[in-house]
């Protein structure tokens, strides 16, 4: 493999960092230039992410094999246990690709008017992408904290973007809760460092089994505190009340990209739990799995009730994020390779669907006089800013708008509820089938998961049908919304990808299964980061 390909691993962090910094320096009035730069950076990231995914899967620039390729990028070329490493494996590559696709869609959507609402939109957006990519790629706990903070700082900016009472009120809670979660993160990380003596995730995985018995309980407590910090992000039941309010109050383009933030929490749980408390963890193996499963089930229950109870479509989208988070946590908590594979498939589909739904809501609400509640808040907040100021409407309103919006809405409903033929159904099937096929009697928790998945789907169908009837059938007096091409194309892109996932389900599922396999048996990951001599003769102990 060539030299330049090694450096591609860090490119998803460097490209948005440079683009965001450059965009800071350009005057806000040179809108076309800024938009071109931002979209160029987003396109470059999509191309990079596709290349990285192929590299991680072993298709490009590496020996092909089912094991996949784990790529290490050592910053400053320090030996991997002394310096900071970035690790690219299948899961990281998948998440980076998802981020870049969502980034491109939300950015193109924002060109119509969101970019004009306030200053520094493009820079905030690029830094958001940088934080997300960094969190997915890092192989070091403390660096994970730093990238979490980058990501959160940018998301505070994006959630508040456009200002207004509703956003500031929701943002105040959002920031306070995340600051506390960050403090918990720090406590967890420092407890683990103090006892195990390392911050490198792979090195930590080799040391868990050899811990002294008196240290084990404390390390597990540290990991649990760390887990709470991640679960706040993921919106697990008692920790997720902030989520629907914040996401509903955020601007459309911002909500579309920060909707992946809850999946960062899921990613961190998936990565660390399987790495640290997998089969090789000795006495600690499987620590906390039951909590994830039960917490996930409770989150599904709460999310389903929130989905049914809400009248506002943006809150409905927020509540469906809770349902998807709960589904993922419960599926991860089951701890079977096949179920995890299905969960990854579900994650990909639901991230695309929720993001498309957030974008769609604005277009649909635009035509409604009844649904003016959300719009009224927006108008009040922006004053005249929402009116196009200088260059008028870009493009012309497209024909058959209602038909296109209706089909998109239907697709979102099918995806969120998990009905055939779209990936939502395939993913639920992939998660439930291994539970049924397992030999012996099915445990009660599996039945509970089974019921929760089906019932949450039913709740989503009911809520989406009600919202759909309200918007498309029951308001004949409302005008057809004016929708620009740049606004409908991103939705088409996201939903189109879901259709592709359905058609290519075999290929995608094989990839997800392989990812789940390498997550559950993490030897490849550990071996790539920790030099073999070190891994075999573990030092045990830790810090003095």
């Amino acid at each position: 493999m060539s030299d330049w390909m090694d450096h591609l691993t860090i490119a998803p962090i460097v490209v948005p960092l440079l683009a965001g910094t450059l965009l800071l320096l350009i005057d806000d009035r040179r809108r076309t230039l800024k938009a071109t730069l931002a979209v160029g950076s987003a396109l470059a990231m999509v191309a990079l992410a596709v290349l990285l995914l192929l590299m991680a899967d072993g298709t490009v620039g590496g020996e092909a094999g089912n094991a996949g390729v784990v790529r290490i990028y050592r910053l400053g070329d320090w030996p991997s246990l002394f310096g900071i490493v970035l690790v690219l494996d299948r899961l990281a590559a998948l998440m980076v690709l998802l981020t870049s696709v969502l980034g491109l869609a939300a950015l193109v959507f924002s060109l119509a008017h969101w970019q004009r609402v306030g200053p520094f939109f493009h820079s905030l957006f690029q830094f958001q992408l940088m934080g997300l990519n960094g969190a997915f790629l890092t192989g070091d706990l403390f660096n994970l904290f730093v990238f979490f903070e980058v990501m959160l700082a940018a998301s505070y900016g994006l959630a508040l973007y456009g200002s207004g009472i509703a956003r500031v009120r929701a943002g105040l809670h959002y920031v306070a809760i995340n600051l506390v979660a960050s403090l918990l993160f720090l406590i967890g990380v420092s407890m683990i460092y103090g006892l195990a003596g390392t911050l490198n995730m792979a090195d930590l995985a080799t040391r868990i089994a050899g811990l002294r018995p008196e240290d084990r309980a404390l390390v597990e407590a540290g990991a649990a505190i760390l887990g709470v910090a991640f679960l706040v992000k993921a919106g697990m039941w008692p920790l997720g009340f902030w989520l629907p309010t914040t996401y509903a109050a955020a601007g459309t383009a911002s909500a579309a990209i920060i909707s992946i933030l809850s999946k960062v929490g899921i990613y961190a749980v998936l990565r660390l739990w399987l790495l640290l408390f997998g089969e090789g963890a000795g006495d600690s193996a499987g620590f906390g799995g039951t909590w994830l499963l039960i917490g996930g089930l409770l989150t599904i229950a709460f999310g389903s009730m929130a989905v049914l109870a809400t009248q506002n479509m943006a809150r409905l989208a927020g509540a469906s994020i809770l349902v998807s988070s709960g589904t993922l946590l419960a599926a991860i908590g089951v701890g079977q390779v096949e179920v995890t594979g299905g969960a990854l498939f579900y994650l990909t589909g639901s991230v695309l669907a929720v993001s498309a739904f957030f974008l769609l809501i604005e277009l649909v609400e635009r035509g409604r006089e009844v649904g003016a509640d959300v719009l009224a808040v927006t108008r009040e907040a922006f004053g005249e800013a929402e009116e196009p100021t200088d260059d008028g409407e870009i493009g012309t309103p497209i024909p058959a708008t209602m038909a296109i919006l209706g089909i998109s809405f239907l697709a979102c409903a099918l995806l969120l509820a998990g009905l055939p033929p779209l990936p939502g159904f395939l993913a639920k099937f992939a998660m439930l089938a291994p539970l049924l096929n397992a030999s012996g009697a099915m445990p009660a928790t599996s039945w509970a998961l089974f019921a929760a998945l089906i019932l949450s789907g039913l709740a989503t169908v009911v809520a989406m049908t009600r919202a759909g009837i309200d918007v498309f059938w029951a308001s004949p007096g409302s005008e057809v919304p004016r929708v620009q091409v740049t606004e409908i194309v991103p939705i088409g892109l996201l939903l189109g990808l879901c259709v592709v996932m359905t058609i290519e389900a075999g290929t995608v599922m094989r990839f997800m299964e392989a990812t789940a396999q390498s997550l559950h048996g993490a030897q490849e990951y550990v071996r790539s980061v920790v030099p073999p001599s070190k891994a075999s003769g573990m030092t045990g102990g830790g810090a003095p």
């Binding site: 903070e149 700082a153 500031v168 009120r169 920031v175 306070a176 600051l179 720090l186 911050l199 810090a543």
Partner: protein, 114 residues
């Protein structure tokens, strides 16, 4: 020394949590600051408490954690201080914006009905 540090962390955390649960935004931000001081002290203490031990190596003397202080928690605490300071400043701006927009310093943006 351990007792004093532990008590200090405990008092800071206790006051921080209490203030965090108060209804005024100013109390919340002071609570967050106190909590972050407690966490910073906690991170610092995970390297082991020791007097007169430098975290830097000397020429000719082999590095040994029995003689030197662990430099990693000190580096971590520095990063945590910087990040905590920046996010608290951001929260302060938000607090002022909320005060200006809603006309009250209640965390929910409106006074409770009595």
């Amino acid at each position: 020394m351990e007792i004093i540090v532990a008590l200090g962390i405990g008092v800071l955390t206790g006051s921080g949590v209490w203030l965090l649960l108060r209804p005024r935004t100013f109390q919340v931000i002071i609570g967050l600051s106190l909590l972050s001081y407690a966490v910073n002290l906690f991170i610092f203490s995970t390297g082991g408490l020791r007097t007169a031990a430098a975290p830097v190596l000397e020429r000719g003397v082999p590095g040994d954690l029995a003689v030197q202080a662990d430099p990693v928690p000190q580096a971590l605490v520095l990063t945590a201080i910087v990040i905590g300071f920046a996010t608290t400043a951001l929260f302060l701006v938000l607090l002022l914006a909320a005060r200006g927009l809603t006309g009250t310093d209640h965390v929910d943006g409106k006074e409770q009905q009595r």
